[in-house]
Amino acid sequence: MPDWKKIRSDFPVLDQQVHGKPLIYLDNAATTQKPRVVLEALARFYARDNSNVHRGLHTLSMRATDAYEGARARVGKFINAADPAEIIFTRGTTEAINLVAASWGGANLQPGDVILLTEMEHHSNLVPWQLIAQRTGAKLRYVPILGADVEGGLDLAQLDALLTPEVKIFAFTHVSNTTGTINPAAHLCSRAKKVGAITVIDGAQSIGHLPVDVRTIGCDFYAFSGHKMAGPTGIGALYGRRALLDAMPPWQGGGGMISLVDYFESRWKPSPERFEAGTPNVADAVALGVACDYLDALGRDQIAAHDGALARLAYEKLSVLPGIRLLGPRGERSGLVSFAFKDVHAHDIVTFADEDGIALRGGHHCNQPLMKKLGLTSTTRASFYVYNTAEEIDVFAASLRRILKFFGGA
């Protein structure tokens, strides 16, 4: 088992005070902090290997290309992809989903086709589908959530009625950033496969927290962000099954993605180059590979157990606060808690907690339709990662109690 206390010292940013209090960083669902090895990988690349990739014949360019392609292989291994060519580097989850929607959706969707989503999707797994639906005449359909506080997750009993032959794409989040629900990804994929729909998984909240094996899950696409898994911002990836990728048209044109260019037409390289027009984000990709090493050294099953235990502890401690409404499952949940009070607004809570050195997030969490459905405009969210401790949760709960008292609650 990892020595969780020691892990803290791997993250330089945690060693600081905010408003005179030790920083307690509980905004990990928005972005995680980066360990020293990742920061060093970035600096090392720029200090030693920096050069443009591909097309280069000099030593530095070959080193940079090796490092970049090595990172691709490393990321592929991280999710057990069959082939490194199934990993397309993107800016993050959002760009990865937009790629699938524009390329696969643009080439395959017809009027009357259905894109099945769920009611708990982040805006980035919602708006790209709205855009492509408008362009192609496809329709959106939603798997409903279950329970007034989403305690039941997705309403799987509706799947039979929803997964009709018109469904061409089923896109869903692996883990909800707003409720902490862990969706049964493998089950959803096998159900979608029965009607011939392709599956697109938003892995933003799962990638750094749970063991992810795309072949066991059986998905066609899996999108994720480096910055939510101890890696840098500005880099992420789309996993796609090779057969699908090779049949998809490019979504952006430029250098690096062509095999032959003529004044009037061009031919594309196969995946992944076909989908990576222009100079890629080499340094961040290399550092993302190092983040994969870091997380695998800790063990993702261990991380899942650690984060989940903190979330259940927080859930338990908060559940006794008068008037609290906690979202998501009562039992097993991913590493976050999300809650609301009738009389104290999330932004007031976040401002107060900041005075205690605690970083929380308040708002709609890019999940406005779900908020509206739940009769909320915002919640406060505390989300945990490898460096958080049970003691920090005590401080957080005590801070919350003081805030409620101040605003005339308990």
Binding site: D348, E355, H364
Partner: protein, 157 residues
């Protein structure tokens, strides 16, 4: 509690947040405008009744109310605003907003004594200035009879 924080959450603000004045739809309203703050989901509607003045005189706000949801700062600000704008002309309301805007952005208390001064503490929390001005944007739009929702994103504060 830090000095900044107790300046932000003054008694006047907490009081307006707990017991908002003029909250709810105004049945006699002839103007309404909606404001929202897309980055945090705060919403505020302002209903007002503009009474025609005697010929040659400007219209005056006969009555007004607000409705919505948001943080203590946004709710208290909208509530206090409704108590300040009654009887004012559009020009007077605009001038009052300019005073208020100066208070929340600079932290300088107004020269004449006014409850608006309670919002001076907001200036130390730049992210919260939008909360304090949301209701005002909606009210000014209602006065201009501008039906497009006021959004804090399109304003320079």
């Amino acid at each position: 509690m830090s000095a900044d924080l107790s300046d932000l959450y003054q008694q006047v603000i907490l009081d307006h947040n707990r017991r908002p004045r003029n909250r709810g739809k105004l049945p006699t309203a002839n103007r309404v405008a909606h404001g929202d703050n897309p980055s945090c989901g705060d919403q505020c509607s302002v209903y007002l009744r503009l009474d025609a003045g005697v010929p040659g005189q400007p219209d005056r706000i006969g009555d007004l109310s607000f409705d919505g949801s948001g943080c203590a700062i946004s709710q208290a600000s909208a509530s206090l605003m409704t108590t300040q704008l009654k009887g004012k002309t559009a020009a007077e309301a605009e001038a009052l907003y300019q005073n208020f805007h100066a208070i929340v952005t600079t932290g300088k208390e107004p020269e004449e004594i006014s409850d608006l001064g309670a919002f001076a503490g907001v200036h130390a929390f730049p992210a919260r200035i939008k909360c304090a001005t949301l209701g005002w944007h909606a009210a000014l739009n209602a006065l201009k009879n501008d039906a497009t929702p006021a959004t804090t994103e399109s304003h320079t504060d």
